[in-house]
């Protein structure tokens, strides 16, 4: 998994609540049994003029020249709610998004982010609004520097906000750890649990 330590990037504000995973990557854009080839489908319903077309809707923020190379999204409450499709994270990541800053996240989406090296940061609505107002003035110059080890988001002006993150998740992101390998180290423990559980709940085991 890709490591996340420090990231400097341009931010775009999509300050709507409840941006769901169907919106992040519409179902019709998920046409292969693969985690790849999804970036063109990101926000497809907003990004293109017509469903299924690839003609850029120039009103959509990510299509505006001022936001080229955006890698951070600022958003409203409950970003990534709805469908559990991990394609939402894969599409964001392939497009180049490394971090999403929102007051809250859909819980499945949030863990999907961590498992894929994308950083979900929780900040208050007010802080996000303040940051968005500032970024909007000149997105290419008013950029953000995210320092995960110190849990800070620095504005290019020097101002910063601190954020909270679960220790285990932070560790996983910084080291780029793969959860399956980490868990497999605990295999003995898991087997012991299962042996004991078989005696208590034999009906669970279908062999």
């Amino acid at each position: 998994m890709d490591k996340f330590d420090r990231h400097t990037g341009i931010a775009a504000a999509l300050l709507r609540p409840n941006i769901d995973t169907d919106t992040i990557i519409p179902s019709r854009e998920m046409t292969r049994v693969s985690r790849e080839g999804l970036k063109d489908g990101l926000f497809a319903a907003w990004r293109y003029t017509l469903p299924g077309s690839r003609e850029a809707n120039l009103n959509f923020i990510l299509n505006r020249p001022a936001y080229s190379n955006t890698s951070i999204i600022l958003s409203g409450d409950n970003f990534g709610c709805g469908s559990s499709r991990e394609h939402a994270v894969w599409a964001l990541k392939e497009y180049g998004i490394r971090a999403i800053i929102a007051p809250s996240f859909g819980s499945i989406f949030q863990s999907n982010c961590i498992r894929n090296g994308v950083l979900p940061i929780v900040l208050s609505n007010n802080m996000i609004k303040e940051m968005a107002d500032w970024v909007e003035k000149d997105p290419q110059h008013n950029y953000l520097i995210i320092a995960l080890p110190e849990q800070k988001i620095h504005w290019s002006t020097g101002k910063y906000f601190e954020f909270e993150l679960d220790e285990a998740e932070k560790n996983m992101l910084i080291k780029g750890l793969d959860a399956i390998s980490l868990t497999q180290v605990l295999d003995n423990k898991i087997d012991l649990f299962e042996q004991k559980d078989r005696l208590e709940r034999p009906w669970i085991y279908l062999d």
């Binding site: 179902s27 019709r28 693969s34 469903p51 299924g52 559990s84 679960d166 605990l186």
Partner: protein, 465 residues
């Protein structure tokens, strides 16, 4: 110590605590479907990882599979066939049980895992699909995960999970005539907002919930994810035990006796504390329908479409305005003046036998409005066969509904079938997001009874007594 149902289930499956708030939880059952499960299986193959307990992993074809009668592997979705073929091959190689097209047990994951006794009271079950929480209706701890998490579960029989807080939603009093579990959950979400359950495992309790059949409890728990909850739960009682008996993969004989002793402990102890409690008076719940593009945009059918200008928060007001524009509706319109193009009865929320019965009972001797296209898609092949045995298919067909094979069908748009651009649909599904049922479609969520009544009127309408 007094424990909530959730805490009992959690403790039973907690192998150890690993770091800050994350626990290693034992997973009893895993369910996959061809859309996201195919990718999880491929991920394991690519990493040369084995499935630890293939006998506990099940797979079905529901999302992409065609639902027209006489279907094969071809689907209207671009490349849909690839998903179906890849899933079949991977399932075979992995040695897991697949309910393929044509199998009598094929159907929507969350319908199948209950009716086959794959999900059991007190079991943990995950599926790379957000509506896995449906199975909480049996007192199972079930939740949706991403594909990577599903790989983790299959490779290790565990997941790393942060323990959610506990919430109780207590439904008190009596439901009025024509008010169903779907109205209960839409009402709750409209009151508390789609974010209301974030961070919580929600137990639905109270006399009203006790009196609901198991299938109605599934409807309630199904939309826990629309409330942003980790999952929904209902305590085990006699109805649960009756439901489980004789299901294909459920325990039998002595094991069943032993299981029942254990299942009988699966309820919240009297006096156990929740982090949050919400009380709903059921008399206040009317047949409910959504007007906007979020499940929280729900009101009584008798009400008028709300005015964003009355909102104090500008974020909420902007979202409402946007939703009204998308839905092509204006504030102050009576809900019942909204004219429909289509009606859909289907999905893991409301396409079990009791749902079809409720709709068919209303439709008996009536016909669908001439300007409405109406479709009914049973939740599973078993539901379809059972409904046909009762003659429900005849009632649907006579009323003017299409009668289909089981699958997710037009609950969501996979790039294949839709009611069409800007069409207005009354639907028993769970998501009214922009484009959910196809590009620019306008979805109104409601109960099967309301959908049946509205289909006949041609306008959003409650079923008259």
């Amino acid at each position: 110590m007094l424990k909530t149902l959730f805490e009992k289930l959690w403790t039973l499956h907690e192998i150890s605590i690993i770091g800050n708030g994350e626990c290693l939880i034992f997973i009893d059952r895993m369910f996959l479907h061809e859309r996201t499960g195919s990718i999880a299986l491929k991920g394991l193959e690519d990493a040369a990882r084995a499935i630890k307990s293939p006998q506990h992993v099940f797979c079905t074809m529901d999302h992409i599979v065609d639902t027209t009668l006489g279907r094969g592997d071809e689907t209207l979705m671009p490349n849909g066939r690839d998903f179906i073929v890849a899933t079949r091959k991977s399932a075979q190689r992995a040695g897991i049980r697949l309910f393929d097209i044509g199998d009598q047990n094929q159907g929507i994951s969350h319908v199948v895992s209950a009716e086959l006794g794959i999900a059991l009271p007190g079991s943990t079950l995950i599926c790379p699909d957000s509506h896995t929480c449906t199975l909480g209706g049996l007192g199972a701890l079930a939740w949706g995960v991403g594909s990577t998490e599903a790989e983790h579960a299959m490779a290790t029989n565990t997941l790393r999970v942060k323990k959610p807080k506990t919430m109780r939603v207590d439904f008190r009093g009596k439901l009025s005539q024509g008010v169903t579990a779907k109205d209960m959950i839409l009402h709750l979400i409209s009151q508390e907002g789609t974010g209301g359950g974030a961070g919580y495992a929600v137990e639905f309790s109270g006399q009203t919930v006790r009196e609901l059949g198991i299938e109605a409890r599934f409807t309630l728990c199904n939309m826990a994810v629309e409330f942003s909850a980790f999952t929904g739960l209902v305590a085990v009682d006699q109805s649960t035990l009756d439901y489980i008996q004789d299901r294909t993969f459920a325990p039998k004989g002595n094991e069943l006796k032993q299981a029942i002793n254990h299942w009988n402990t699966l309820h919240t102890d009297i006096g156990a504390e929740f982090d949050r409690t919400i009380t709903i008076q059921c008399e206040e719940i009317k047949p409910t329908v959504t007007w906007g593009t979020s499940p929280q945009h729900a009101i009584s059918i008798e009400d008028e479409i709300p005015d964003p200008k009355r909102e104090t928060s500008s974020i909420t007001a902007n979202a409402m305005t946007r939703a009204l524009t998308y839905m092509d509706l204006s504030p102050g319109m009576p809900m019942t003046s909204v004219k429909l193009d289509a009606a859909f009865i289907g999905s893991c929320t409301n396409a079990r036998l009791s749902d079809l019965r409720a709709a068919a009972q209303y439709l008996q001797g009536k016909t669908v409005s001439p300007w409405v296209r109406a479709v009914c898609v049973p939740g599973s092949s078993q539901v379809k066969v059972a409904a046909e045995a009762e003659g429900l298919d005849k009632i649907f067909l006579a009323a003017g509904f299409e009668w289909r094979e089981s699958g997710c069908s037009m609950c969501f748009y996979a790039g294949g079938e839709t009611f069409g651009k800007q069409k207005r649909i009354i639907s028993t599904t769970n998501r009214n997001f922009e484009g959910r049922q196809g590009p620019e479609t306008r979805t109104h969520l409601a109960s099967p009874l309301t959908v049946a009544a509205s289909a006949c009127k041609g306008y959003i309408s409650a079923a008259e007594d």
